[in-house]
Amino acid sequence: MNTFQSLVYRLSRLAAQLSAVLLVYMVLHILLEIVLRSFFATSTFVLDEMVGYGVAAMTFLTLGYAVHDDALIRVNIVASRLRGRAKRALETLCLAMTLAMSCYITWYMWIGVKRNWDRGAVSESIAEVPLWIPEGLVLLGIVLFSIQLFALLVKQLTPVSRVTSE
């Protein structure tokens, strides 16, 4: 079970590292655009499009890593007053609800990505980016997030003794 947990976490971290690469890319693209526009009177013509894809991919690809590392905000008014089994039950409920929501989103995003793949839809810019690529990255992020939630749920449902006995 521990190997499953750590494998999933390594996947999540890998996706977050991809996000970090995207962030570096976004900064570089902006600098390139400024230089081209200011000194060469030209443009990459796709800055807001590419950076837009970058932000979307970044946000979703980091979700799994962020949820594992407790970087996503939650309101702990009730949970902080609970102890023992009640607390575990509430945590399980949160994980289960979020996992259900995440799977629901995954399904409809999958339909969208598949449709854009099938009909060969591209962006309207000069780059004509196939739309399944940026949407596919978002989908990948949501899928990895679901897997990470599932792993956390399994950990939550595993009896405490087995988790602590490394």
Binding site: F45, L47, A121, E128
Partner: protein
Amino acid sequence: DVKWDMSNEYSNTSIHGEGDSYFVQQLSEKSDGKFAITVHFGGALGFKSKDHLDAVGDGAVQIADTLAAPLGGIDPIFQLTALPFLAKTPEEAKILYEVAKPYYDAVFEKNNQKLLYASPWTPSGIWANKPVTSMAELANLKIRTYDANGTVALRAAGAAPIQLSWGDVVPQLSTGGIAAVLTSADAGASGKFWEHLNYFTEVNYAVPLNMVHVNLDAYNALSSEERQQLLDAAKAASEHNWSALVERRANNYKKLEANGVNIVTDAPVAYLEGLSTAGQTAIDQWLEKAGPNGAKIIADYRQRLGM
């Protein structure tokens, strides 16, 4: 009673925003208030024009008012109204629309929807700090374009097209980051371009169209009486919008003049023909994507114009 939601990316004071309000009001009158459409202006529902084909097809909204060109990546036919210097006046745009209507209908039907009507934007021209009435004046002009066609055409004409998001246009104008903008007098007026630029040169670059389309399931669920009310209101709105264009442009020009903008309407014919030649580059690229249908539409259109 029927209650629909309509998505429009543009504000309620834009030419299509006002057209939507007219359409909704007509429909309300014809149905004694039983057929109500709530328009969500300014993209308040969260959809952009490029989302509308799927949003309407999947029934996320029943009806939408959509700038056609951004859908060009899904089907090239939607790029037709954005082709540079093809339809130069509202009259020509209407003829082009009539020629292409069967093809639009087919695409919309394939996507589980029905095209109700289309209506025009005011023609785009060049906003700058000088009249742009010759190729020499256009040469190396740092000009913001709004789509790929404009980039291709203006680059072919020797200008230096720049791509910026609309929100960045005014800040860049005020700091001199760009020198000119390719857009309509209408859009320039809404951005108060006269604070930075004092010439609008009418080059009749293009007359883009917005299309109002409705989900086929929602449409089929209407009674025959309601369907008739919808179609009647659409017809009235379409006529209203095409005739509003003339008045809108006159008002825009009055507003521009009141704010010290010089409107140049007499660009030399040779220059305009030169621009058309440059625009042909974009049209050729489009023809490659659009296949035999595209070629047929252009041929039929040129025949209707007597060219």
